[in-house]
C-alpha cells in the first residue's frame, strides 16, 4: 500500500519533470532567443545586452534549466520582459483569481455531474436520460466563447443582472469579485458537467449490466440500495480518471473564458504575455497550470486507490 502511493507520487514527479523539460526545450528550439524574440527589430546594442544579462542568457542551457526549475520550486519564476518585474510579484493575485474561478466551477460541477450521470445511467434510454444526454452533447460541443457570448447577451445586455466584463482590479476582494464571477463559473461548469456526466453515465450503465448487480437483485436488495451500495462505488472508479482529465478542459477553458469576460486571472495574463512575446511569463504560467493538472490527476489516482480494494490489496 505505501509503495503504491509512493509509485503514484513518483509518476507525478516524473511527469512534472518531463513537462518542464519539454517546455524549456521548446523555448530553446526558438530561432534566436527569448530576448531577440521579445525585442524584435530593436534586438541590438545595449538593449539586447541588458536583456541577455538580465535573463542570464550568457550561461549554458543546462545551467539555466536548473535555475529555472529550482527557482520555480521556491516560487521564483524569473523576470518578466514586458513588465520588467519579477514574475512572482505579478502572478500571485492573478493566481488567486483563477483558483477562485476554477475551484468554484469544479466544486459545483463535479458533485452535480456525478449525480446527474447516475440518474441518467440508471434510467437509461428513458426521457430523463435522453434529455440529459442531449443537453450534455450541446454543452460539450458548443465552444465556450459561444456559450459565454450567449450568456452575456441574455444576462448582461438584455437583463443586466451581471456585468458583461470584469472591471474591478486584480486585487479586488472576494465580495467585489463575486458578481463578476457568476457567468464565467456557469460557462466553465457547463462543459465540466457535460463531460463528467457522460462518463459517469457510461460507467453506471456498465456496472448495471454486471453479474453482481443481477445477483443483488436476486438477493432481494431494493433498487435504491442497489444503486447506492453496489453500483455507485464501482462506477466511480473508472470515472475518476476522466474527471481528472476533464480538469485539462477546465484549465484550457479558463483561458478562453477569462478572455471573454476580461477576468483578471492567469489566463488573460498569459494571453497578454503571448501578444507581448513575453516568453518567460508564458513559460511560468504554463508550468503552473501543468503542476495543478498533475496534482489533480494524482488526487484522482489516490481516490481510486481508496475506493477500489482490488487496487489497494493485490493478492493477500
Amino acid at each position: 500500500m505505501p509503495s503504491l502511493i509512493l509509485r503514484r507520487f513518483g509518476f507525478a514527479a516524473f511527469t512534472i519533470g518531463f513537462v518542464s523539460i519539454v517546455m524549456f526545450a521548446a523555448v530553446e528550439a526558438l530561432p534566436g532567443n527569448v530576448c531577440t524574440s521579445f525585442l524584435q527589430r530593436f534586438a541590438q546594442g545595449p538593449r539586447l545586452e541588458r536583456c541577455i544579462e538580465q535573463q542570464g542568457l550568457d550561461r549554458s542551457a543546462l545551467a539555466r534549466y536548473g535555475d529555472w526549475v529550482a527557482g520555480a520550486a521556491q516560487g521564483d519564476f524569473g523576470y518578466s520582459l514586458k513588465k520588467r518585474k519579477p514574475i512572482n510579484e505579478l502572478i500571485w493575485e492573478r493566481f488567486r483569481n483563477t483558483a477562485l474561478l476554477g475551484g468554484l466551477a469544479a466544486l459545483l460541477a463535479i458533485p452535480f455531474a456525478i449525480f446527474l450521470g447516475i440518474a441518467a445511467g440508471v434510467r437509461r434510454d428513458r426521457p430523463l436520460d435522453l434529455s440529459l444526454s442531449g443537453a450534455a452533447m450541446l454543452a460539450m460541443t458548443v465552444p465556450e466563447f459561444v456559450t459565454a457570448t450567449a450568456l452575456i447577451y441574455v444576462f448582461a445586455i438584455s437583463l443586466q443582472w451581471f456585468p458583461a466584463v470584469t472591471i474591478v482590479s486584480p486585487g479586488a476582494g472576494f465580495l467585489q469579485m463575486l458578481p463578476n464571477i457568476v457567468l464565467p463559473v456557469i460557462v466553465l461548469s457547463a462543459v465540466l458537467i457535460a463531460h463528467i456526466m457522460r462518463m459517469m453515465r457510461a460507467s453506471v450503465i456498465d456496472v448495471m449490466a454486471s453479474d453482481y448487480v443481477q445477483m443483488a437483485r436476486l438477493k432481494g436488495v431494493p433498487e435504491r440500495q442497489i444503486i447506492w451500495k453496489h453500483v455507485v462505488p464501482n462506477a466511480m472508479i473508472p470515472a475518476l480518471n476522466v474527471i481528472a482529465l476533464t480538469i485539462a478542459w477546465l484549465l484550457a477553458g479558463v483561458v478562453v473564458v477569462e478572455k471573454v469576460f476580461n477576468y483578471p486571472g492567469l489566463g488573460t495574463l498569459m494571453i497578454q504575455a503571448i501578444y507581448d512575446r513575453d516568453l518567460p511569463m508564458v513559460q511560468a504560467i504554463a508550468l503552473i497550470f501543468s503542476v495543478i493538472y498533475v496534482g489533480v490527476n494524482l488526487l484522482a489516482d489516490l481516490t481510486a486507490l481508496a475506493l477500489d480494494p482490488r487496487l489497494r490489496r493485490k493478492g493477500h
Binding site: D211, Y212, M215, A216, L218, K219, G220, K229, P309, R310
Partner: protein, 677 residues
C-alpha cells in the same frame, strides 16, 4: 401428494422483435418440484436451462418477456406479484447461488458486509446478532477462520472460497429453495467435488429444495433426485435420476450420455451429428429430428408432446422402440519408434526480474514449470493433464516458441532444436510444429474469411498463391468435413464446432509433424466434443502427425491419448502409457484427481483425497504436491525432489513413497481418506 413448492405451468418466454414476432427461449415448459427435493436441470448451451431457473424467482434478463404461462413459487405467481413482494421473497424464501461467484460478489464490499446485507433485508436481527450470524454462516459453509474471511474483499478469496461465500449469502434468509446455476463450472475438479459434496450434505441437513442447473451430467448424477433434460427450450425427458441416466428414453438423452467420455472406457465416444436449432427459431417439427438416428417421416409433422412413461415423461412417440447402440470407437494408433519431439529437463519462468529486484538481488520465485521431460513418438498422442495453474498450457507455449525456456532442451525428432522462440526459428522448423487453440471464437480472425484464414499458412510455408492455394484450402475444408462454400464465409457465420474444425484445418494446412492441442474441446458442448475428438483421431491416422493433447478433463485425455503425463504446479507427477496411469499404483495427486472425477452414473461417488486449497505458486523445494498431499510421509517431502520410480513400460511416478508394479505401497504412511463432507 404434497403440494409442490415450485410449479411452472406451460411457461413460454423470450424476445420480441421490433415487428412483433416472438422469439421464444422457453417453449411451453412445465415442471414441478416438491419441498426438500433436488431437481437437476441439464442441457447444452442455448437450451434455456438457466432461463428456467431465473424464471422461478420471477426474474427475466433484460429484453425478455413472458409470452404465456406461470411460474408459481410457494403459492405465489412470481410474475404477477407486485415488485415489492417479489423482492422480499428473493434471497429469503428462494435464493440463488450463482455460476461465477467471483463476478457475482460486489468487488467493493467485504464478504461480511454482503452477507450482513442479506441478513438485514430478510431477518429481524439487530446489528450485533447479525455479526454473530455472519460468522456462523461462514462457519457453516466450512470456510476457515470466518472472522478473517468476513473482513476480506471478494478478490482476496480463491474460486472455491468465493463459491462458499456465495452459498453463505444464500443461506442468510432461511431459504425453502436454493437455485444453483452451474455453481461449480469453471472450478477445478477437486474443488468441484468438495463443493458438491458439501452442497449435498447441506440439502440433507436443512431439508431445503434445490434446483441444480448444469451442462454436466456427472454433476447432476451426483446431486439430483430427479433430472429434467432440456433441448431447444423444451423438456424432452424428465424423471428420477437413476431411471433417466440408466435407461434413457429420449434419443437425445441417449445420444448425450453416449457422447460423454468415461474414465474406464478408452476410445472415442459416439458423436451426435448436427447442431441444435437456433435460439428463438420457429419450430414446426420435433426439435431433435434433424440429429436423431431414429428419425421417421412422422417426426416432421409436428412438435411431439410430453408423454408419461413409467415414472418418467418423454417427448418422443417412439421412445419405447429399441434404440440403435451408440458405440464408442477404439482408436487405432499407429505409433512408430522414431521420435517426433523430446523435452529434457525443461524449466520455464514468466518471472522477469525488474530493475529494482535485480539491483537488490531479490531471490527469484520457483519457475512456473520445472524438470519437464518426455518423449513423443511419431504418430503418438501424449496427454498432458492437470488443474488450472498446472503449467500444461505453458509447456505447449514453450514448444510453440511463444514462451522462452529457462533451462533444458526441446528438440524435434531429427535433433532440430526448438529452444529458440518463434523469432529465432526458421520457417521450415515453424511449419513442423502447429498449435490448435482452446477457444475457436478467439482463434479465428473475425475480419478474415475462412478462405483467407486457411490460405495464410499455405502462403507462408509453401508459397502457394491464387488458384493453387484456393484448391488446397478447399481440400482442407473437405478433410475436416466442411463444405467448400464456407471459403467465403466469415467465422461469425459458423457454429462453435464448425469454427473449431476450421482451427484444426488451419493447423493441418502446414502439414505438421507435431500438433499441439490446447484444451481444444473444453469450450464445446459434449455432443460436439465427441465429433471433434473423432476428427482429430482420423486426421492423425491419415497424416501420421503426433499430438500433445492438453486438457483438464481426465476422461477426454483418456479417450485420445496413448501416453499421459499428470502435472501439478508445473512439475510432472506421473507419466506413462495411458492404461497404466489410469490404473493403480497412482501418484497421490493422480489419485486425488481420479477420485474427484464425476461420472454420469448415480451409483458412483467421488473419493475426496487432499483438501481443495488452491495454490498460487509452486513450493521452492521438495515435492510440488507437499502442501495438499494426504499421504505425505514427512519432512523429506518438503525438502527433497521426489525420485522418479520407473515401474513397467516407462510408467514413472515421482514420489517418495515406494511404489511397486503390483500396486501396493510399502511406505509406512497409511492413506488417510478424508471423509466425504
Amino acid at each position: 401428494m404434497t403440494e409442490p413448492l415450485i410449479k411452472i405451468e406451460d411457461l413460454s418466454l423470450g424476445f420480441t422483435a421490433k415487428d412483433g414476432r416472438q422469439a421464444p427461449i422457453l417453449r411451453g415448459l412445465s415442471l414441478e418440484l416438491a419441498p426438500g427435493e433436488t431437481l437437476g436441470i441439464v442441457g447444452e448451451s442455448g437450451s434455456g436451462k438457466s432461463t428456467v431457473a431465473l424464471a422461478m424467482m420471477g426474474y427475466l434478463k433484460p429484453g425478455l418477456s413472458v409470452f404465456r404461462g406461470r411460474a408459481v413459487f410457494d403459492g405465489n405467481d412470481m410474475f404477477a406479484l407486485p415488485e415489492k413482494e417479489r423482492t422480499s421473497l428473493r434471497g429469503s424464501s428462494i435464493a440463488l447461488i450463482p455460476q461465477n461467484a467471483g463476478q457475482a460478489l460486489t468487488p467493493t464490499l467485504k464478504i461480511g458486509q454482503q452477507i450482513d446485507e442479506a441478513l438485514r433485508l430478510h431477518t429481524a436481527l439487530n446489528a450485533d446478532e447479525r455479526k454473530i450470524k455472519v460468522l456462523e454462516l461462514l462457519n457453516r459453509v466450512r470456510l476457515p477462520s470466518p472472522e478473517d474471511i468476513a473482513e476480506r474483499y471478494p478478490h482476496e478469496l480463491s474460486g472455491g472460497q468465493q463459491q462458499r461465500a456465495a452459498v453463505a449469502m444464500a443461506l442468510a434468509g432461511n431459504a425453502k429453495a436454493l437455485l444453483l446455476d452451474e455453481p461449480t463450472t469453471g472450478l477445478d475438479v477437486t474443488t468441484q467435488a468438495h463443493i458438491l459434496e458439501f452442497l449435498r450434505s447441506l440439502a440433507k441437513e436443512l431439508g431445503v429444495a434445490m434446483i441444480y442447473v448444469s451442462h454436466d451430467l456427472g454433476v447432476i448424477a451426483r446431486v439430483a433426485d430427479r433430472v429434467a433434460v432440456m433441448y431447444a427450450g423444451m423438456l424432452v425427458e424428465e424423471g428420477p435420476t437413476r431411471d433417466v441416466l440408466r435407461a434413457p428414453n429420449h434419443p437425445y438423452t441417449r445420444g448425450l450420455l453416449a457422447s460423454i467420455p468415461r474414465l474406464g472406457e478408452p476410445g472415442i465416444p459416439a458423436s451426435m451429428p448436427g447442431v441444435p436449432p437456433a435460439v428463438g427459431s420457429e419450430l414446426t417439427a420435433c426439435a431433435f429430428a434433424d440429429r436423431c438416428p431414429q428419425v421417421r417421416p412422422h417426426c416432421k409433422d409436428g412438435v411431439p408432446v410430453l408423454e408419461p412413461r413409467g415414472e418418467c415423461q418423454v417427448r418422443c412417440p417412439f421412445a419405447g422402440e429399441p434404440a440403435p447402440d451408440h458405440l464408442s470407437t477404439l482408436r487405432e494408433p499407429q505409433v512408430r519408434e522414431a521420435r517426433a519431439l523430446e523435452l529434457q529437463d525443461v524449466a520455464i519462468s514468466y518471472h522477469k526480474p525488474g530493475f529494482m529486484n535485480r539491483w537488490l538481488k531479490k531471490p527469484e520465485p520457483a519457475p512456473t514449470v520445472d524438470r519437464a521431460g518426455f518423449v513423443l513418438k511419431k504418430g503418438e498422442t501424449l496427454g498432458l493433464v492437470g488443474e488450472s495453474g498446472s503449467g500444461k498450457s505453458t509447456i505447449l507455449r514453450a514448444i510453440a516458441g511463444l514462451a522462452g525456456t529457462r533451462k533444458g532442451s526441446v528438440t524435434l525428432g531429427d535433433g532440430e532444436s526448438l529452444n529458440a522462440p518463434v523469432a529465432g526459428r526458421n520457417r521450415e522448423t515453424l511449419r513442423r510444429v502447429q498449435m490448435i487453440f482452446q477457444n475457436a471464437d478467439a482463434s479465428l480472425n473475425p475480419r478474415q474469411s475462412i478462405g483467407e484464414i486457411l490460405m495464410a499458412p499455405l502462403k507462408l510455408y509453401f508459397g502457394l498463391k491464387g488458384a493453387e492455394a484456393q484448391a488446397r484450402a478447399e481440400a482442407l475444408l473437405e478433410a475436416v468435413r466442411l463444405p467448400a462454400r464456407y471459403m467465403s464465409h466469415f467465422p461469425g457465420q459458423l457454429s462453435g464446432g464448425e469454427k473449431q474444425r476450421v482451427g484444426v484445418a488451419r493447423a493441418f494446412a502446414a502439414n505438421p509433424e507435431v500438433t499441439l492441442c490446447d484444451e481444444v474441446t473444453s469450450a464445446l458442448d459434449v455432443s460436439v466434443q465427441a465429433a471433434a475428438l473423432a476428427l482429430l483421431t482420423r486426421l492423425q491416422r491419415e497424416n501420421g502427425s503426433s499430438y500433445i493433447f492438453v486438457s483438464h478433463d481426465l476422461a477426454v485425455v483418456r479417450a485420445v491419448s496413448d501416453r499421459v503425463a499428470v502435472l501439478y504446479q508445473g512439475r510432472i507427477c506421473e507419466s506413462g502409457p495411458a492404461e497404466q496411469v489410469y490404473a493403480p499404483p497412482y501418484h497421490p495427486y493422480t489419485q486425488t484427481l481420479m477420485g474427484a472425477v464425476l461420472e454420469p452414473d448415480p451409483d458412483t461417488a467421488p473419493t475426496l483425497l487432499a483438501n481443495d486449497m488452491s495454490e498460487k505458486a509452486p513450493p521452492a523445494t521438495g515435492c510440488p504436491f507437499q502442501r495438499r498431499c494426504a499421504k505425505r510421509i514427512g519432512s523429506i517431502c518438503d525438502t527433497m525432489v521426489p525420485p522418479a520410480q520407473e515401474l513397467a513400460d516407462g510408467h514413472v511416478i515421482h514420489c517418495h513413497i515406494r511404489m511397486s508394479a503390483a500396486g501396493c505401497q510399502e511406505a509406512a504412511a497409511v492413506p488417510e481418506l478424508m471423509p466425504a463432507e
